[in-house]
């Protein structure tokens, strides 16, 4: 995807860049991962103490 951007004409690239939210989706993916990891860790602790 990044490579495709580099090869396309400059004007097009600017437009692409402005509207692209690929970084955002990666970032919120990180947020989701923190939520899942933290929850799973405490759930594991809970189960180990049953």
């Amino acid at each position: 995807m990044a490579a495709a951007n580099k090869n396309s004409p400059k004007k097009h690239t600017d437009n692409e860049n402005e509207s692209s939210l690929r970084g955002t989706i990666v970032s919120v993916g990180f947020v989701g991962a923190v939520i899942v990891i933290m929850w799973a860790a405490i759930f594991g602790l809970y189960m180990s103490r049953i």
Binding site: E18, V26, V31, I35, W39
Partner: protein, 559 residues
């Protein structure tokens, strides 16, 4: 018509001259009290952290729980309340073209009521007549004057709420067919939520006054506790909503970007206002007297509050990414490097937002029903609210200071002050990571919150917590250093920074973005929905607690 013209004139004057001086006085007074409180509360925080770790012994005339009560009341209640009002009234004044004279009177009345209330309550704490912590769970009974002080504080809050409602309505009347500016919309959300959240604690305190005076013999402890959390959890969410107003509206301007789709921002505000109050129940997951099914309903209700925050996560990253790409950020994450990390007005709220990732995730853990047994009343919870309030909220507040105070005081933010702000932000971040991080871990090992230094007779389990408590003490020391720098910066910007004009950084929508829909302004409907959600959440359990109540408890003093 005449009024509208006068208002337009007023708006133009504000544009030309900057801040309205009488409005600025209101905000600056609130902010001054806020930072005085922060200094005292911060010192008490360090005293407490060192005592807890066994690194310091308190003199005989003061005890740990007195210090803890004062720390909680001053920082969680007074600092955040006064900062919020100062900031929100400044937003309102700027967004609506000045406060109405009547509204300023409400703000001043609120100010006086709150100062009286805080002085009464804190005096009782200092006299050791109210070592009941800021949650004052009955049947621990403080001196009646403590509760009377709290009534004054709540009345002050109500006065400020009414002021906001009047100004908002007035603007809407004079601008038919227009949606209010975003900052005013946020302020409305904050004060509507605050108004209804405060009702719970008002009812509680009014029943505790005659009880603490001995006029009524007993009180229902379960109802008191429930009404407290109706207020208590909503309160921290009010601070969070205040912080998000800066994330959505101010931060985009500072980074040279545009704000997110206004319809979605307004939807987030509406959802936070409607869904919030029942969140308090997850503080009572391991209480007796509430059935498992009611508790599970509240697991659902508490988790639903996470949804608007998940929307915020996406919106903020999108705003940051667009701004960074516009500045030439390439690749997947190149935009991150293009953000103005050296600008404290961005750095502080940015770290605040990042802190809300583990903060919010921790909240989801806390509310996950039986998993609450792992963390309830341990230091984990203390770590949790120091990340959410102490970082997400307070760092946003700190970041706001660096433009709001120069704006209000008609001064300029100097590069030196900006550098000091960046240093302060780093110290605060490191301090909080050390303190809240070790609190989270110690809590998982069973270290209880709200407990003065003890090794429980050198029990090996308790001794295993000590290293974490040392780290906590180091973190608390850094945090006090942070407080001192922040207070210095605030004083400098209020009185000594070079004179000049500072802009109020309000962001604009994206080019060609659709305007906000009018239906978002239906506050009557949002209040009805809020009340319906509250009724759904509270009618069954509270009626049950009253109808099937055990004989009540008399006032008890155990300190």
């Amino acid at each position: 018509m005449k009024q509208t013209q006068a208002l337009n004139l007023q708006q133009k004057t504000i544009k030309a001259l900057g801040v309205n001086t009488s409005d600025a006085k209101v905000s600056l007074s609130y902010l001054s009290v806020a930072f005085l409180t922060l200094l005292i509360g911060g010192i008490l925080g360090l005293v407490q952290g060192l005592e807890r770790a066994g690194l310091m012994e308190l003199p005989p005339w003061i005890n740990y729980y007195q210090v803890l009560t004062a720390h909680g009341i001053l920082l969680l209640l007074v600092f955040s309340t006064t900062f919020t009002i100062g900031y929100q009234y400044a937003n309102l004044s700027h967004a609506l073209g000045g406060l109405l004279p009547k509204v300023r009177k409400f703000a001043w009345t609120g100010f006086i009521l709150m100062v009286i209330g805080v002085v009464l309550a804190v005096t009782m704490v200092v006299l050791n007549e109210a070592s009941v912590l800021y949650t004052f769970y009955p049947p621990l009974a403080a001196h009646p004057v403590f509760y009377i002080g709290l009534v004054f504080v709540v009345l002050g809050i109500f006065a400020c709420c009414i002021g906001v409602f009047i100004n908002y309505r007035h603007w809407r009347k004079n601008h038919p067919g227009q949606t209010t500016p975003l900052l005013a919309f946020f302020a409305m959300g904050v004060f509507v939520l605050w108004f209804f959240a405060s009702i719970g604690v008002t009812v509680e305190v009014l029943t505790l006054i005659p009880w603490s005076m001995g006029i009524v013999e007993t009180t229902n402890v379960m109802v008191g506790r429930t009404l407290f959390w109706w207020f208590g959890h909503s309160l921290v969410n009010i601070w969070y909503l205040v912080a998000t107003s800066a994330w959505y509206v101010i931060v985009p301007k500072i980074i040279g970007g545009r704000h997110f789709n206004e319809k979605l921002i307004r939807l987030v505000v509406i959802l936070l206002v409607i869904l919030n109050i029942p969140g308090g129940f997850h503080h009572q997951i391991i209480d007796p007297g509430i059935s498992e099914s009611i508790k599970f309903l509240h697991v659902f209700m508490s988790l639903s509050i996470a949804v608007p925050s998940l929307m915020t996560a996406f919106a903020m990253f999108a705003v940051l990414e667009r701004a960074g790409r516009r500045k030439g950020g390439k690749g997947l994450l190149g935009w991150i490097g293009k953000l103005p990390w050296g600008d404290v007005r961005f750095l502080a709220p940015m770290i605040a937002m990042i802190a809300f990732i583990p903060g919010g995730a921790g909240g989801i853990v806390n509310t996950s029903n039986q998993m609450n047994q792992v963390i309830h009343n341990t230091l984990w919870v203390v770590g949790h609210f120091h990340v959410t309030v102490g970082m997400s909220v307070v760092m946003t507040f700190f970041g706001i200071c660096y433009w709001l105070i120069p704006y209000l005081a008609k001064r300029k933010l100097t590069p030196q002050m900006n550098r000091l702000g960046v240093i302060q932000t780093i110290i605060w971040t490191v301090g909080m990571i050390l303190m809240a991080g070790s609190q989270h871990l110690a809590g998982l090992l069973g270290d209880p919150r709200r407990t003065s230094y003890t090794t429980y007779g050198d029990h090996p389990t308790a001794l295993s917590w000590v290293p974490y408590e040392y780290v906590m003490g180091i973190g608390a020391t850094l945090l006090l250093l942070g407080v001192i720098i922040q207070v210095y910066a605030v004083i400098n910007m209020m009185f000594f920074a070079p004179k000049g004009k500072t802009a109020f950084p309000v962001s604009e929508p994206e080019d060609g973005a659709p305007s906000a829909p009018m239906w978002t302004e239906r506050w009557g409907l949002w209040v009805v929905l809020l009340l319906m959600v509250v009724a759904m959440a509270y009618v069954v359990p509270i009626v049950d607690m009253i109808v099937n109540a055990p004989p009540g408890s008399p006032p008890i003093r155990t300190w």
